[in-house]
Symmetry: D2
Subunit: 374 residues, 4 copies
């Protein structure tokens, strides 16, 4: 089903950019799970458009719970979260209505929905739909954090500028490092690199252009044994969710595409027993073997393409007339969404991992003995 | 559910490498669909171990239908395909039984299944499980071919050697090109490149080592309008299946990770109307916008890591004693599986696309008017 | 997943009786499907509490669309319907808070949800949750009606009083008969029987007691060939939905439990060809053979138990103290819900049939040739 | 999906009566679960045709495991069970090939599968398909038995003859009573009643006719708290499975259809605390409130219609010519299947309950604390 995903947890996404609201239904959260609205608000804040490098459309993004939460806890039935659309200016979009924006879903939406989609502001394809994803993921992230599982995503590169910093993957340092990155307003490890990225984004924006980037997610504290071979693999589960995020066009785990240039002797991660703890000497497999977590940090990278909304004249077709045409996009658009997408990637990762745990251990997965093994 | 996947079609995979059989159940195939056992056999042949660059374990891989096929047609109920395991030598595996092979799923399998898995020959994690995937995919590929949809996968690079050839993406040439690549015994476009790859594989094998590669799949003839935004995206659907194939550690669509270095003005694909046909001037998005096919060729690349079974001494841990140990792997293993994986990737692509069509148009998707639009 | 149901269509139900709202998400409705808010309102009206025989809690039950509907048509993505809770008086419920009401879900809710459910007004177990079911079903019923499929439910008996009327099952008369019953404010065929039922309900209410009844649903215009043997049977699909309606404790198709006293020679429905039309001489199988519709009217009966909220003193246990106790229920309650449940049964039937059609023919099931065969 | 069912467990059924084999794939069984082939064989034996009251087609029904079982335990991946078809005589069926048997699925199969079904011996509609259901259910029943949950089904009536015996529902006696009934070769409580039923079956058979019956299932030892309100209700889950069994046309829980003649004051089950144990004074609700088990015995009844294969001349239509015709059925058929269906009902009940437990507590549901509460 196109609007829902998940195995034991289930997430249903709804809404259009300029409709009454966007929202999500989250099923499978155990009764009694604390729902911390401040944590959710903090995650929402990370996704929000801010400053010069983002769209001028800024929404308060207040998450309203219609069901499933009572006195600060999950009731055990469907949690419905709604974010009302308040700051909608459809006028700008109407101007370019019939001109199909290259790189966007305008053409495919028309074909897929036969002209019945609510196309205002991108409709159901809008990045605005990622707001409820962040809210749902924040609930899952909170559950995982209580079991010692921390998730962070950094911009490994943006606009061609790499993050010069690197993760502290030492057993002693990783948890603190991941939490520190998770707290950052602009998600990079090296501050100066972040400044350079912002400069590059602004430079592109100044030319009416846009840029993309690579997001790198690290999860620490995961026990070995989550996921399954083949269809229930950790990679399959995560990838299906990451490719649900608009603009993501690639994903890799561990060494990823660099495996193509490695020999087996360079790619394998030798096991070792250190003070009674099973670890791997290297982590080229990104914490996953045979589709199952192996207790090492999970490492995943995605690529976020440049925002297709640019202010330069583009060739396209006028849907109404079927004629070739020139398009100049109006309206408020992000010159880059990769940094905002970090919050979405964290959220989808948290949902995926909570779902993987719940598929095996049920809605009370937090009580499973697996968590004592890390 | 870990052993099944799909929306309107459903595929369930079962078996262990040294058990009675491996097999699959394929649900959702419309009654009356021709089941051409020769086509299936041809696809199986492409996946088979052959020559010096593959494992010495060679199985006839005869697909036996237990149900769902009658007088050469699908009956409309579950199709069960079984491939018996005949050539099993467990002795070699037993020698290294308790020593966890790096890069393999030995450790994660023990954690996940608590020691109850049938570990002989890799058990359920064995690449042998991909044989029934190929059989199931061949049925789907045959259905798609009748609608003018052709799928081929080439080794874009192997052991660091690139395929010097390139696809003919012209509107006139693509169908023939895709079909030609699909027929090849060794899946490259440029013959000399293929020879160089085989040399490189043999060279690595001679050193007791292994290599990986990058597989590039192209699908032509797909109409616009398949897939959905977010969770039902073409990318999500394909990625979940590709990451079900052992050793795949990355996937990208269109420009993929190269998007990170592009500006929006370089990344967007301008639309044009040519003789009444809607096309894009470029195809950086790999035939997909907003999760939905746009009528351009679908382009997807995956990375297949080097086979973890190498013949060099490796550090590891002895599961039985919990002590550090040295491992030297015995047995019959492929120095490279990337070329054999091309057949699996074709199969999973065919299943994914048939499933996407069936989700929208039902089991009689072949009759939908969408196919007249290409 | 407990809060969702369906195969190709999918329905997710959320809300609590005294929370912000109750609602549903309906997925899988084809883009362009007309959404007639008046039809939905008319179905909602049939379910509403009215007159002396119903609860004094009367809500306007205005369905608000948060997503998936634009300019009177389905967009093709998730349709979210919300009904706000406006007339909530929790005080009455609190008085009996810890005393477990016999026949209700008070005890099982406490066990299931560990005390975290929002128990006010029955919470998620409230009959109020059936309001969004009716709204979702009305959309499906409207789609079916356009294909000549009509659904009606009558009270076959209530409070022990049978409906003396009977359906006109003749080929010429059935469509009109079904539509006529569907229009009735009190769902019986014989007016005088309905008056007698209302009297019996009032008599029970006067004694602080409650009554139940038997609902009989007839569907005409269904083509042969919907449903599947075994798990996808029409009976399995309908039964799963009917038992989702609170207070339903039994279901039967065609002759149902009366089959136990029949011989095969009395139970079989002989086929005949009448003017080129295939029909059965009798309809003991209720329009279904082998789990698949056979073109005869679908006939289904359910039993609705007496409302457990009665005003007589009852024995029970005080959850807070674990002591035996006496309970006298306060608040506003229906002495009978069977007549109101007819609208819910119609809705669930419509959803089930639309889902069965969509499982086979996809979201564009209305275009399948099967509909021309009736 | 028509051929699969289940939430956390999943059961896929395949095969045709006269094809190579019938079988099932069972997913979600935790690794290490003992698979006792003798227990499975004992359950299969209960379903087998025996003596004068059953069909003359008698198969050994040996269950062969193709996957998922190793050294007597579940491996944790898909369990594939196959029963080969050995004793097939298609000749008898061919004689009546084009004549649609009344009460059977001949007509609906032709419409549904467009003539492509393997119709020999009833094909996929054959009662033979229930053999793998019994095998799969036996695995689940064994798991439940270890947690103190016992399941038995009796013929409450057959051929109009009621079982004069009754269950011992006392807290002390129920477990022994249920196990005793489960052991019986002919599933009745009162031996003389069983003899009378067999006489009535033989009498009907002597007239070339057939009979049906009512099956009553009792489950004891179930803890309170399994199931969910609405779509995941215990009743919905059980009913979907029971209506998957051919010939079942009705189901009721607790008082069932008799609720229609009860007042609320007669229907409610008052709670009481007895020596620290929560029980209900009556069990009209059959162990389920609000879709959730309440700790009382689960009581469920189904009706099994008379076997449609009778030896009397019947009116029907010749599918080949479209003409009215007379049919006299040949071949080997049961004059009654209700007694054999008891084993199938036990199996489907066991699967449903194990699935309900696994949906909430995951694949390791047997370790959940809920089982200590009974």
């Amino acid at each position: 089903m196109a609007d829902s995903i998940g195995g034991a947890l289930r997430l249903t996404l709804f809404g259009e950019s300029h409709g009454a609201a966007v929202g999500a239904v989250l099923e499978g959260i155990a009764p009694g799970t604390p729902i911390d609205e401040e944590e959710i608000a903090a995650a929402m804040e990370k996704r929000r458009a801010k400053g010069a490098i983002s769209t001028a459309r800024k929404e308060p993004d207040v998450v309203k719970f219609l069901s499933g939460v009572y006195e600060g806890h999950a009731t055990g039935t469907a949690i419905t979260m709604v974010i009302e659309n308040t700051n909608t200016k459809s006028g700008d979009y109407k101007k370019t209505g019939a001109l199909l924006r290259p790189g966007h879903a305008d053409y495919t939406a028309k074909v897929r929905y036969g002209g019945f989609a609510d196309e205002r502001g991108g409709g159901h394809f809008s990045g605005r739909l990622t707001a409820p994803l962040v809210a749902a993921g924040a609930i899952c992230a909170s559950m995982l954090r209580k079991k010692g599982v921390f998730i962070a995503t950094r911009l490994a590169s943006c606009a061609g500028v790499p993050d010069a910093g690197s993760w502290d993957f030492s057993r002693e340092g990783i948890a603190a490092c991941v939490q520190e990155v998770a707290e950052k307003a602009f998600p990079v490890i090296d501050y100066a690199s972040g400044m350079a990225m912002e400069q590059a984004i602004l430079a592109a924006a100044g030319q009416g252009d846009s840029v993309g980037g690579i997001l790198e997610t690290v999860v620490c504290g995961l026990p070995a044994g989550l996921g399954d071979p083949f269809f229930g693999s950790v990679e399959s589960t995560l990838a299906a969710l990451m490719f649900s995020v608009p603009a993501v066009k690639g994903i890799e785990f561990g060494a990823g595409f660099a495996f193509a240039r490695k020999k087996g002797s360079e790619a394998n991660d030798p096991w070792q027993m250190e003070n009674g703890v099973m670890t791997a000497k290297t982590n080229h497999n990104g914490g996953i073997n045979g589709g199952i977590t192996n207790g090492m940090p999970l490492v995943m990278r995605t690529v976020v393409k440049p925002t297709p909304s640019i202010y330069r004249e583009q060739d396209t077709v006028d849907w109404a007339t079927g004629e070739n045409a020139k398009l100049i996009i109006q309206g408020r658009h992000d010159p880059c969404i990769a940094h905002r997408a970090a919050a979405v990637q964290n959220a989808m990762t948290a949902f995926a991992l909570a779902d993987l745990a719940a598929r095996r251990f049920g809605e009370t997965w937090q009580e499973a003995s697996i968590w004592n093994t890390v």
